[in-house]
């Protein structure tokens, strides 16, 4: 069993539990122990884009210090946490002036040796780079054969590419390869890397609804049966807000939106109560039952 420090973040502990529980259980069955960091604090939720804001780097720095005491990797799953922690680590590693300013705010963590070598990784990077998608195919218990999944590439995991150093956001493949590894059929669609409207839902809900609807329409047009995401905010916009889409447009057909880890859970035959489908607004159960996957 490999053990990594794991940072679930606030959404995964509350509103996006389905993303979290599946992750821990599924990874356990693949031989990985995700150890939740003790007494973690918020990742900051938003990476500070203004150059003169330093205080917002303190929280991520604290998390990075904590993780570094256990391992040289820190596993995240929520796209916002991934984005903030990965970019913060890059800034703190490369910009000594900022690092100093941040450390001025810290007490017990303010050590001489900044954990420069700590890598903030996304859970899917374990699946891809450590286990390998080919091996994953060997390890799953149930193939998602016949399930047409449209993988959605959220903004925060991929952009800005120079800071995230993840995958080219103009032609991302990682989730498609993941779906294929699980035996499903990955459907490429035009809007796969367009923004869902994100937090504009708070202030201009009609604008973000439009953004999300375009994404679902685009996936539907090429024959997708469900969407895949690993971002709680995308999930909210694309799943929960289908309620409004149905009201707004008579011909709108709802489509289930899976969390990355839910699909992994199905393929690894986790018990149904751990998959957290009750949190999905559009229930994937009818689709899964029809395909004999549950």
């Amino acid at each position: 069993m490999v053990s990594y420090p794991y940072f679930p973040g606030c959404a995964l502990s509350t509103k996006a539990k389905a993303l979290d529980i599946c992750a821990r259980e599924a990874m356990k069955s693949l031989g990985y122990d995700l150890k939740e960091i003790d007494d973690w604090t918020c990742c900051g939720a938003v990476f500070p884009l203004a150059e003169d804001e330093h205080i917002r780097l303190v929280s991520p720095a604290r998390t990075i210090f904590k993780a570094s005491k256990i391992s040289d990797k820190l596993v995240t799953l929520c796209s916002a946490c991934f984005n903030v922690l990965r970019r913060s680590q890059k800034v703190l590693k490369e910009n000594l002036e900022k690092r100093q300013r941040v450390q001025n705010y810290m007490e017990e963590e303010a050590v001489e040796n900044y954990p420069e070598n700590l890598r903030v990784i996304h859970l899917i990077e374990i699946l891809k780079d450590e286990i390998g998608f080919e091996n994953l195919t060997q390890k799953i218990k149930k193939s998602l054969k016949g399930l047409k999944i449209a993988p959605f590439y959220d903004c925060l995991t991929f952009r800005p590419p120079k800071e995230m150093e993840f995958e080219d956001p103009e032609n991302p493949r990682i989730y498609s390869n993941f779906v294929t590894a699980l035996g499903g059929e990955a459907i490429d669609f035009s809007y796969r890397s367009e923004c869902c409207g994100a937090h504009i839902s708070v202030s201009n809900p009609e604008v973000s609804l439009e953004c999300s609807m375009r994404i679902l329409d685009s996936a539907r047009r090429v024959g997708a049966e469900a969407l895949l995401t690993s971002c709680p905010l995308c999930h909210y916009n694309l799943d929960a807000r289908q309620k409004e889409m149905v009201e707004k447009r008579i011909d709108f057909k709802p489509m289930p939106v899976f969390y990355l880890t839910q699909l992994l859970g199905i393929a690894l035959e986790l018990p149904e109560n751990l998959l957290g489908f009750e949190k999905n607004y559009v229930s994937p159960l009818p689709l899964l039952k029809e395909r004999g996957l549950l």
Binding site: D168, E170, N171, S190, Y191, S218, R221
Partner: protein, 649 residues
């Protein structure tokens, strides 16, 4: 006691405004070895030069110091003047009291005058020790090598050959004509590219003075201007071209089809093939990678059908050695691989094509016989989007420079498209319209008016496939709106890059290339066709992106440079180069390694190092490397310099 003349130039007020010239003149009158000390407002003027000449004759001077501007400006002027008065030109030295003194010390006039005196003192020491030297002469091999058989190479080769000199024209592909042969029609006159070019390819093919070496590459270049030794690799074509009559039977019967590079992947060709119907020479090669016999060990159909038994599967590459006196580099260009910009979906969506592919679609000899049919389903596209600056002027994803031809060729494409599909709509996304050539702006304006082209000022962010349409997300910055077009086909005006392998060829030739791989010219304005290396000249896109008129003009200029070299009886070179004090040389060979010009070698019998006078550029690398101080530069020995420094201190 020497007789040295000192001439101080005022350079208008450039020098006289800062340096107290009467003071300087006074200081040097009666100074050791100074026979005459004089000054003049403009020494470089004719009366100024006359002063110098007269003094040399009247006072029997054996050395001259001119205190004036940088030697880069007028050293040659004063040396020529001295020579015409009977003094060895290498006994003239410049004391730079302008760039190195008056210009930089304008605010401290007193000190500037002192410094000028010091500078002149040191140069007097140098002149005292200068040896009279003679320029070096050597023979010229009056044959030229032209690398690249496109319009640039062909033009240069024919021009040189018509003047009566032999030319070896080397082309990487197996027929000449280059990119221009792939084009359909050319701007701004819309005349057929093949019709314009083929008379030239035919002329090059049968010219008695041109030795055509196609399917060949330059592998090694040694020597120097006037005397290059070249090794050329003749790639195995597996067809004995001496026997082959070009009947075409083998191509017809060959069972293997593969993507045609001439049609840029839009059409097919056989495994044994000529590049195009108008190929010069009209001889096929076997493509080893697709030939069934080479891949699977059986087939041999071509061998069976060939009426003259020209097929030879055993053929090997051959190395040919040649001697030439000048080289013209005309290696042409490539276009940016558009997968560098994945948001446009090139290579993913079949109907997103590049400019050269459109040329083939539009060409009568192309895969659609000149009908505009899109690659995916052969339908006639009714909405076509043309995008400029794809990779050009894009420092992040492509190259920062402007590719110069895309504005024009996309305008031409759109217009030709409208000729063939009158009810279609063409959209052109542009950032600026650069129509700089003769008749170009008129062509673009006429296209807009007559062909009803819609020019949209903005860049495209994304192209995505929706059903059988390509949805183009652009912007019209003039109205400040996002623009969305559901197109049937998209043509990308991709950036022009140097031809593949240009930088490597640059290393072989020892001719500098820039950061992109274009050959560097010796001076951007005054020596635009000369490379940084003597005897190597540039033509066409090898130097920078160019349209056909500019390419042809430059190729003609390169040929003229070659001819002016060949017109000389002997090569003449400056004698200020390295020499060896044989008594001191131990033959250690350090200088051979240090020399960047391959000008040093060891005489194995004498066990000393010698200098190839034609190659040495007088850079001094060997001088500083030599542990015994055996290597010296002529007229710049350490003793001279120590004497100069002594005088200064």
């Amino acid at each position: 006691m020497k007789k040295i003349g000192l001439f101080i130039c005022h350079c208008g007020s450039n020098i006289a405004g800062t340096i107290d010239i009467p003071e300087v003149k006074k200081f040097f009158s009666g100074y050791d070895d100074i026979e005459i000390s004089d000054d003049y407002k403009y020494m470089c003027s004719e009366p100024g030069q006359k002063k110098l000449r007269d003094a040399i004759v009247d006072r029997q001077l054996d050395g001259v110091v001119v205190a004036c501007c940088s030697p880069r400006m007028h050293e040659i002027t004063f040396r020529n003047a001295a020579q015409s008065a009977g003094l060895n030109p290498y006994k003239v030295e410049i004391a730079n009291i302008r760039e190195q003194c008056s210009w930089v010390h304008q605010k401290e006039k007193g000190k500037a005058t002192e410094k000028a005196i010091d500078i002149i003192k040191t140069m007097i020491e140098k002149v005292k020790r200068d040896e009279p030297l003679k320029p070096i002469e050597f023979e010229i091999t009056k044959r030229a090598l032209v690398i690249g058989g496109g319009i640039a190479g062909i033009t240069a080769a024919v021009d040189i050959a018509n003047a009566g000199y032999e030319v070896i024209l080397v082309e990487r592909r197996h027929s000449i004509g280059g990119k221009m042969l792939e084009l359909s029609e050319t701007f701004p006159t819309l005349d057929c590219a093949q019709c314009t070019l083929t008379p030239k390819t035919v002329e090059a093919g049968r010219h008695p003075k041109i030795k055509l070496m196609v399917y060949s590459e330059v592998e090694e270049v040694k020597g120097y201007i006037g005397n290059f030794d070249i090794k050329i690799r003749r790639k195995a074509s597996f067809v004995d071209w001496n026997k082959c009559t070009g009947c075409g039977l083998c191509q017809e019967k060959c069972p293997t089809k593969t993507e045609s590079e001439f049609d840029h992947g839009l059409g097919e060709r056989k495994a044994i093939y000529t590049l195009s119907p108008q190929a010069v020479p009209n001889k096929p090669i076997i493509d080893k990678n697709s030939c069934r016999f080479f891949r699977e060990g059986k087939c041999r159909v071509c061998e069976k059908v060939c009426p003259v038994q020209a097929i030879n599967y055993e053929m090997k590459d051959e190395i040919v050695e040649e001697k030439v006196g000048a080289i013209v580099v005309a290696t042409g260009y490539e276009i940016l691989e558009t997968d560098k910009i994945p948001e446009y979906g090139y290579g993913i969506y079949k109907d997103v094509i590049d400019g050269l592919q459109f040329e083939r679609l539009n060409s009568a000899s192309g895969p659609t016989a000149g009908e505009i049919r899109r690659p995916s389903d052969g339908k006639i596209p009714k909405e076509v989007v043309f995008i400029k600056c794809v990779g050009s002027r894009d420092p992040e994803k492509g190259i920062p420079y402007c590719s110069r031809i895309c504005c024009m060729y996309l305008g031409k494409h759109a217009r030709l498209y409208k000729h063939k599909v009158p009810d279609g709509q063409a959209y052109l996304f542009y950032m600026d319209i650069r129509s700089f050539g003769k008749g170009y702006e008129e062509f673009i304006q006429q296209s807009m008016e007559e062909a009803n082209l819609l020019y949209i000022r903005g860049r495209v962010a994304r192209i995505m496939q929706e059903g059988d349409k390509l949805v183009v997300w652009g912007v019209d910055t003039l109205s400040g709106r996002k623009v969305e077009i559901k197109a049937d086909m998209v043509v990308l005006g991709t950036a022009v890059l140097p031809s593949k392998g240009a930088a490597e060829l640059g290393k072989i030739l020892r001719a500098a290339t820039d950061e992109y791989g274009f050959f560097s010219e010796a001076h951007i304005k005054l020596k635009p066709v000369e490379s940084m290396t003597g005897g190597i000249y540039l033509a066409g896109c090898a130097q920078s992106p160019k349209d056909i008129p500019d390419t042809v003009a430059q190729a003609g200029a390169a040929a003229a440079k070659v001819l002016s070299l060949f017109g000389q009886e002997k090569m003449i070179q400056e004698p200020l180069i390295a020499c060896v004090d044989y008594d001191l040389c131990s033959g250690c060979g350090v200088c051979v390694v240090a020399c960047p010009f391959d000008a040093r070698m060891l005489d194995q019998e004498e066990r000393i190092s010698i200098v190839n006078e034609a190659l040495c550029q007088g850079c001094g690398a060997c001088v500083s490397a030599c542990p015994n101080k055996a290597c010296q530069l002529k007229n710049a020995s350490p003793k001279t310099y120590i004497a100069m420094v002594d005088k200064y201190l």
